[in-house]
């Protein structure tokens, strides 16, 4: 008779040995970090620049500089660029964050000869055509209005402002009125200062053979080599505004759900408490069986989802609990969230629960390091901190060795109601 009650035996890995990327230096000094995989005949390149909003002196400059890269060069118009990439079935995207800006390129190997020269052109000769810029600005303004109807967007922006202040790039968000102050001269200047060989790193994955590297070197590797050495624009922007935790409630007309964020500034991934706090955080709200999920979704049915996390930018980070709940239950949800936070200070996490979370986190690590493309993505995200994939080995070790008592002290320090700010956007009318 089949025993369906007893769970099958299982094992959890004890340790991992993450792979390290190969490194290749291009003629112009740019480093390429790559992971090789030849199951498919394709490659992905991420060209990453220290050109995020951190470095701008005016709203949207970093953003539009990055977005306009694909909207025309000295030799090809925006339409021609789209045509060339679409025709070869390649994907090219630009993305900007607080700290970095990048161009992402995915292609079948067979098309690299025709596409790499255009990629190089985009990186070095973007021309910021006024008409294209005007169209982009108009589209962005419309998206801005749509996005700012969402309670979660309004909350996210206000929340970061509360944490880091409106003076600091991590807390500052552009206003609608500021779109009209964008001119292509500003973008051109930003482009000169931030998009060049000394400020770029390349991360790659796929069938990266010697031949592919040669093609890359003959195109991107020859870019900017004739220009004078450009001074890197390094900025250390202090965090001036003192963080004052408080409770704020913001109305939103017609909202049937409230967006809730509770949190505080913490630190970057380099902090000694980082891994342990991630472990504690997972128990709180980092997986489907978390304390927050079990209470606020599975027991009360207040929400479709609730979670908590640690976010690390290059120079600072924060802890946040976030959810969207029905407007009628927003205050109740906040009460329950603080109830769960306080439990960690008053009780130690039971052994079984902690083991389960540890096992789950180990499984997650295995899933995030699965294959060359995953590895390149993880490595790329660690690079700005001066870290490599050994991070995961250390992470796993901390997960395995940290005990409940230590997590209780950590909770006393970080889950302190007096230190956390609460923001509710969208209220019952």
């Amino acid at each position: 008779m089949l025993d369906r009650i007893t769970a099958p035996k299982y094992t959890i890995i004890e340790d991992i040995e993450p792979l390290h990327p190969e490194v290749f230096e291009l003629d112009n000094g740019v480093k390429v970090y790559y992971f090789f995989a030849n199951e498919q005949d394709c490659v992905k390149f991420d060209f990453v620049f220290e050109a995020g909003s951190y470095f701008q002196n005016q709203s949207y400059v970093a953003y539009f500089t990055n977005k306009l890269l694909l909207e025309g060069t000295a030799k090809h118009s925006a339409a021609q660029i789209s045509e060339i990439f679409d025709e070869k079935g390649a994907f090219i995207n630009s993305e900007v964050s607080k700290d970095d800006a990048s161009l992402s390129f995915f292609s079948l190997i067979k098309h690299l000869d025709s596409l790499l020269p255009i990629v190089t052109e985009i990186l070095t000769e973007a021309n910021f055509d006024e008409k294209e810029l005007a169209q982009k600005i108009e589209a962005e303004k419309q998206d801005f209005l749509v996005d700012n109807e969402k309670v979660s967007t309004i909350n996210r922006k206000l929340f970061l402002q509360k944490l880091f202040g409106n003076d600091h790039p991590y807390g500052r968000f552009g206003l609608y009125e500021e779109f009209d102050a964008i001119e292509n001269s500003l973008l051109k200047q930003f482009y000169q200062q931030h998009y060049h060989a000394q400020n770029m790193v390349i991360f790659a994955a796929g069938n990266i053979t010697k031949d592919v590297l040669k093609k890359l070197n003959n195109t991107v590797g020859k870019a900017w080599s004739k220009s004078a050495h450009i001074e890197l624009v390094k900025k250390e922007i202090p965090f001036n505004k003192k963080f004052i935790p408080e409770k704020s409630v913001v109305a939103k007309e017609g909202a049937i759900q409230s967006s809730i964020r509770i949190g505080m500034p913490t630190f970057t991934s380099l902090h000694p408490d980082f891994f342990k706090l991630k472990l504690l955080n997972t128990v709180l709200g980092g997986y489907f069986g978390s304390r927050l999920m079990m209470n606020i979704r599975e027991d009360k049915g207040y929400t479709y989802g609730i979670g908590s996390g640690l976010q690390s930018y290059k120079n600072h980070g924060f802890f946040v609990i976030s959810t969207e709940v029905g407007v009628e239950v927003a205050e109740d949800a906040v009460k329950e969230i603080f109830f769960e936070l306080n439990r960690f200070k008053n009780e130690t996490i039971p052994y079984e629960e902690l083991s389960l979370v540890k096992n789950y986190m180990v499984g997650n690590i295995l899933r995030s390091l699965d294959g060359a493309f995953d590895l390149a993505e993880r490595f790329k995200n660690l690079y700005q901190f001066g870290l490599d994939l050994t991070y995961y080995k250390d992470y796993l070790k901390t997960i395995k060795t940290t005990q409940s008592e230590e997590l209780k002290s950590l909770a006393e320090q970080y889950f302190d109601e007096k230190k956390l700010t609460t923001l509710i956007v969208g209220t019952k009318e």
Binding site: L2, R4, I5, A7, P8, K9, Y10, T11, I12, E39, Q40, D41, C42, A79, S82, E83, D86, E87, K88, G89, A90, F91, S107, L108, H111, Q135, E138, A139, Q142, D143, L145, V146, E149, K150, V151, E253, G254, A255, I256, Q257, Y287, F288, G289, R297, E298, G301, Y302, T303, Y304, E324, L356, N359, Y360, G363, N364, L366, R367, D370, G371, F373
Partner: protein, 414 residues
């Protein structure tokens, strides 16, 4: 090329095995051949509500998620108009846990009142969060009943209205389970560093004693041929006017499915597409425009969706869009052939990207097996490459006819 082996157990469960020795993880994908199209028009949203209930505990195992998390696994599920798909990812050594969990809930769900109460609330919150509290969130709740008058595609997976979910009873739920959740309606794919024997033995051990249910004869109400241009206008609290225009297209089983997909790519996939260049760049009446297909198994929809610039009135926007579609239908074969090469290359890249991750391979194998043959996944690329410009042009004339169109003008409240 996704290599695989296939077995069918005596109770009708189809088991597919795909070996990949390079990954430490196994993808365990179980697809049930039931979607919102199988619901009764007065009891919609059930397939999706049911997906939630599947996590409420089974006869022998009170919690589905906890034992899986304990072995380092992860899981999720999704429901569409056609299928309900459950997937687990576990480290290779703990594969048996996936079999234990998934087979127990196929055999017998716990059916707790508390679980129904909670999940009802959760689904209602999901309805609000994703469809009612987002700008443009209810687009599909409006376009579907406009395009389909009789066919069950006329309602979205989330349901026609919240009340259907509020009124769902335990009896409704139980009868849905026994009708649709059985081994003969299920397609299991196990992909990873696994051996065929290993997987078959586990399948026989854990799923072998589950009884097959009577074969379900799918008798979907046929949608009458359209033959009329349909248009509807709604007003919502949104900052910009939007137009959505949909056309009925061939089913997955139709040889013209692939050409239809490519038509939507030519029209509006990416910045070099026809509608984007004409209407966003040249005529500059839209800020953005996209064309895509719903990818459904039965006769689904080809969708064109665009956000209007402030200066254009909705009627003119619709008129200009229609004229542009006429222009597309008049493109000469040589030009089409050239553009076709490009969209085919894009499909090739996309299919290749999809194969990178083991979970996607597992999902594809289950899906195509449900369609009749898992190997169809390996034929996809050729099916697209073989589309010729002439057939595509003829098909476009049929699909993109105004008499086959349903248009929604989704406008900002005054």
């Amino acid at each position: 090329m996704i290599a695989f082996k296939k077995h069918v157990l005596p109770n009708g469960l189809t088991v597919l095995i795909h070996q990949d020795t390079k990954t430490p993880n196994v993808a365990f994908n179980l697809l049930y051949d039931v979607g919102s199209k199988d619901e009764h028009p007065d009891k919609t949203g059930f397939a999706h509500l049911f997906e939630h209930l599947m996590f409420g505990g089974s006869k022998n195992i009170p919690s589905f998620d906890t034992p899986l998390q304990l072995v380092g696994g992860e899981n999720n599920a999704f429901t569409s108009t056609d299928i309900t798909n459950y997937y687990i990812q576990v480290p290779k050594n703990n594969l048996e846990t996936a079999f234990w969990l998934e087979s127990d809930r196929m055999k017998e769900l716990a059916f707790s009142e508390k679980s129904l109460e909670v999940q009802r609330k959760v689904v209602i919150e999901e309805f609000k969060q994703r469809y009612l509290n987002q700008p443009y969130g209810d687009l599909y709740l409006l376009i579907r009943p406009l395009a389909y008058k009789k066919h069950p595609y006329s309602w979205a997976t989330i349901g026609k209205k919240i009340e259907h979910i509020e009124d769902a009873t335990m009896e409704d739920v139980k009868s849905f389970f026994y009708k649709h959740y059985c081994p003969n309606r299920a397609f299991l794919t196990v992909a990873g560093n696994v051996e065929e024997d290993e997987v078959i033995n586990l399948a026989k051990k854990w799923f072998g004693d589950i009884e097959r249910q009577s074969d379900y004869v799918r008798n979907l109400t046929k949608e009458p041929e359209q033959n009329e241009e349909r248009i509807e206008t709604v007003y919502r609290k949104v900052p910009a006017n939007l137009i959505m225009k949909v056309f009925k297209m061939p089913s997955r089983f139709d040889k013209n499915y692939f050409a239809a997909d490519l038509i939507s790519d030519l029209l509006g996939r990416g910045n070099s597409s026809f509608l984007y260049q004409k209407l966003v760049k040249d005529k500059a009446i839209f800020n953005d425009i996209n064309a895509y297909i719903t990818g459904e198994v039965e006769e689904g929809l080809m969708v064109i969706s665009a956000k209007m610039k402030d200066h254009i009135d909705p009627e003119s926007a619709n008129k200009i869009l229609k004229e542009c579609i006429e222009e597309f239908l008049e493109l000469d074969l040589e030009y089409l052939e050239k553009k076709l090469k490009g969209v085919k290359n894009k499909v090739e890249s996309t299919l290749m990207m999809n194969d990178i991750h083991i979970l996607n391979r597992a999902m594809n194998l289950s899906f195509f097996e449900m369609l009749g043959d898992a190997n169809k996944t390996n034929e996809e690329i050729d099916n697209y490459l073989n589309v010729d410009a002439k057939s595509l042009k003829d098909l476009a004339a049929k699909i993109l006819s105004p008499l086959n169109s349903s248009t929604l003008l989704y406008l900002k409240e005054k």
